[in-house]
Symmetry: C2
Subunit: 190 residues, 2 copies
């Protein structure tokens, strides 16, 4: 039967997860799906549009948390960031793809909307909640990118293990420090 947009996205997620962004070409997807390249352009407008959908799909595996009380909101933020990291860390170049989606169609990334909600629940006022999310998302994506480059460059060596652990600690440290700084900046907040 006919190819669907969903199958195309799934194939793209598959190639990305197994081989990375450098190997994720429209021609390769066409080969994988047993169609000609041109066929893909009936289902998506461009490769960029496809990548935005890939990013959405990657973040879809993060379950929507319960809406927290104001007191628990900072903890909910930290937990959500952990889940996002877990969802992305195993997929090569996922940070790059999410970064693209973030600039092209931010509303397609639901979990980042929840993040903003939680920061507001914690008591942050209007522009600052957005700023705070921005800092946290920069840290999340930057840490993931650095982690993946570390394991890619030192592939197979024992050093890659050490670098990955360093990155884990650095991520936790960053989340802690940023949340602490935010509550220091907003004394009304818990």
């Amino acid at each position: 039967m006919a190819l669907t947009r969903g199958q195309l996205i799934d194939a793209a997620v598959g190639v990305l997860s197994e081989f990375g962004l450098a190997d994720l070409s429209m021609r390769r997807l066409a080969r994988e799906l047993d169609v000609q390249v041109g066929a893909l352009y009936w289902h998506v407008k461009s490769k960029q549009e496809l990548l935005v959908d890939v990013a959405s799909k990657l973040l879809d595996s993060v379950p929507r948390p319960e809406t927290p009380t104001p007191g628990l909101a900072p903890m909910a933020v930290a937990v959500l960031l952990r889940h996002l990291r877990n969802a992305l860390i195993t997929v090569p170049d996922s940070a790059e793809v999410v970064q693209l989606a973030l600039s092209m169609r931010p509303e397609s990334l639901d979990p980042l909307g929840w993040l903003l909600d939680f920061l507001k629940i914690a008591g942050l006022p209007d522009p600052e909640a957005g700023f705070a999310r921005h800092v946290l998302v920069n840290h999340l994506l930057g840490s993931i990118a650095a982690h993946q480059e570390a394991v890619a460059l030192a592939a197979g060596q024992e050093s890659s293990q050490i670098l990955a652990e360093w990155e884990d600690s650095a991520f936790d440290y960053g989340v802690r420090v940023i949340l602490q700084g935010i509550s220091a900046e907003h004394p009304a907040t818990i």
Copy 2:
């Protein structure tokens, strides 16, 4: 006379600054320099290696600050981050290029070494100083990438001006919050 590696790097910086990474191809550089593509590979091993040198060159415009006293070190960190941002913000896709250099040859980026020095002068112990720099550099590069995507997408519209200003405020907020969080995490530090 013969092409030099320096001329090649300068040409690459020029194309990046004017047209962005998508237009920065080896073939285009060869055209610009009136040589055949193959000639470039006598001067650099690969496009990646060239991009690492481009990143170094971009950061070279940041002057080395005076070594601060412990009391002034946090301020020196903030000032250095501002200078880095100023050096990169006008060059399209500079954050991406620096990210690459950071993973391929971090020691080639002197100003990021100074950043680590200042954090240690401020009193941060050994693994934490590296973590802290990591958070700050993630924020720097993430903010620059977001800023540039904002102006690129809304090119010409009045909204691009607003988005750019939002990004400016968000950057300052982030630096403030992270530095505050760091000093809260390390009570011994000022």
